[in-house]
């Protein structure tokens, strides 16, 4: 799909173009937001809200596909913050949270067992906020360092350093050697 063309069509008010953009960006955005709000259902809701907000404000957006992605993720980030604030005001919802999977399970990869996934997920969640955000954008959403830099408002070099630090911390937190040298 030609993202630039889809963005141009979306700016012209073509709702089908927004559906195309949704198909392109929904899963990466979901990956990012799931790590922010921890509940998949909440993350899915936020994806929808993010796209609705983007659709509302698309006329104000002036950039290319990379810029659009960064803009979209920033909107999602702010909505995740809003949600967290709302939940702070409604602490009773934490009970409902127990009914949701605390971490996502991917059917296509059954080799990694559930316990290990849980450990990984918790280890990622335990990272400092900046490191976690960068790591999730990189590995979950599949953004490049340059694209992440646009989303988080940092220099590309800083993003690369953060992702390195995050992975080092992740290895330490897991406390196991994941692979012997040369086994990749």
């Amino acid at each position: 799909m030609d993202l630039e063309a889809a963005i141009a069509r979306a700016r012209a008010g073509d709702k089908e173009a927004f559906a195309d953009l949704y198909r392109a960006f929904a899963s990466p955005l979901l990956s990012f937001l799931a790590s922010r709000v921890r509940r998949r259902d909440d993350a899915e809701d936020l994806v929808a809200q993010t796209f609705l907000e983007a659709m509302r404000d698309i006329a104000r957006f002036d950039g290319d596909a990379a810029g659009f992605r960064a803009w979209l993720f920033r909107i999602g980030h702010h909505r995740a913050i809003d949600l967290a604030r709302r939940k702070d005001r409604r602490p009773e919802e934490t009970l409902d949270a127990a009914e949701n999977e605390p971490y996502p399970v991917l059917a296509e990869d059954e080799a990694l067992d559930r316990v290990e996934r849980a450990l990984l997920w918790e280890a990622v969640q335990a990272l400092p906020d900046e490191q976690r955000r960068v790591l999730v954008l990189r590995l979950g959403s599949g953004l490049s360092s340059a694209e992440i830099a646009e989303v988080v408002g940092k220099r590309t070099g800083a993003v690369k350093a953060l992702q390195h630090r995050a992975l080092v911390n992740l290895v330490k937190a897991l406390g196991v050697s994941k692979a012997p040298p040369g086994s990749l």
Partner: protein, 262 residues
């Protein structure tokens, strides 16, 4: 201390990992890349197809007319949120909602207004939902009054009013304990009383040909008022027989709340 070379090499390795290319990393980075590969399998999610379909429907601006609340609480929550998000979006833009708020049955934006109301209903539960149904009845009544004199619009508005009234009446009947809550019961009674008064006034104002329809609506409103009065036992009027004050408004927690934490 991080080495610039390692940082750059890791970045290149992650690029290849994300591109699903054959992965080879310099020896010092093998462990990091291995963990990154496993973390990616946990962190990279795919939007579910049914969820994506619903989201796209909303983005296309299709009115969720055939929308039904999904069975599972989680999916219901999501669908409700979507409707609410669509509502808040339109509220902010101030266009469709502002226009739809003045729409009455038969007008093009009435469907939008109903969609917002369905979202509002879906977001409420128990007593709150029962009361909101009566708020909707009030809206239909206001619409009915606003189109008085236009025979076609009036007929549609009256039908919409009666449908809303019937739904609200059923809501009271089917929500256990609603009328045992003094505050809710008072609200409902007051709403219905206002309806009856307004319809009586309207009956005086409309032309002769419209009176049978308004009279039917008035009859229904009066019946609903009586129904609510019967449902709300007289000895519930503010103090229970033991004299210990009004019943608490707190609802019984839903079953999900009482489940034990896993």
């Amino acid at each position: 201390m991080e080495r610039i070379d390692d940082i750059q090499a890791l970045d290149r390795a992650l690029d290849r990992l994300i591109a699903a290319e054959h992965l080879s990393a310099p020896a010092p980075l093998v462990e990091l890349v291995s963990v990154a590969r496993e973390a990616r399998t946990v962190l990279a999610l795919q939007m579910r197809e049914d969820t994506a379909a619903l989201h796209i429907q909303i983005l296309r601006g299709e009115e969720p007319g055939s929308w039904e609340a999904p069975a599972s609480p989680a999916r219901r929550s999501m669908a409700v949120f979507l409707l609410a998000a669509a509502m808040s979006l339109t509220l902010v833009t101030g266009s469709a909602f502002a226009a739809s708020s003045h729409a009455s049955a038969g007008q093009s934006l009435f469907g939008v207004k109903r969609a917002f109301e369905r979202a509002g209903l879906a977001m409420r539960h128990g007593h709150s939902r029962a009361v909101f149904r009566f708020e909707i009845v009030q809206r239909r009544l206001a619409e009915l009054r606003s189109v008085a004199g236009d025979p076609v619009a009036e007929e549609r508005a009256r039908a919409a009013y009666e449908a809303a009234l019937a739904e609200a009446d059923r809501g009271v009947t089917q929500t256990p304990g609603v009328l045992d809550d003094d505050v809710v019961a008072d609200n409902v009674r007051q709403e219905l009383h206002n309806n009856v008064v307004a319809l009586r006034q309207l009956l005086e104002l409309v032309p002769e040909r419209a009176r049978p329809g308004i009279q039917r609506a008035l009859d229904h409103a009066t019946a609903a008022e009586q129904h609510v009065k019967r449902g709300h036992r007289p000895d519930d009027s503010g103090r229970n027989p033991a004299g210990t004050g009004k019943k608490s408004r707190r609802e019984t927690p839903p079953a999900s709340r009482s489940k034990s934490l896993r």
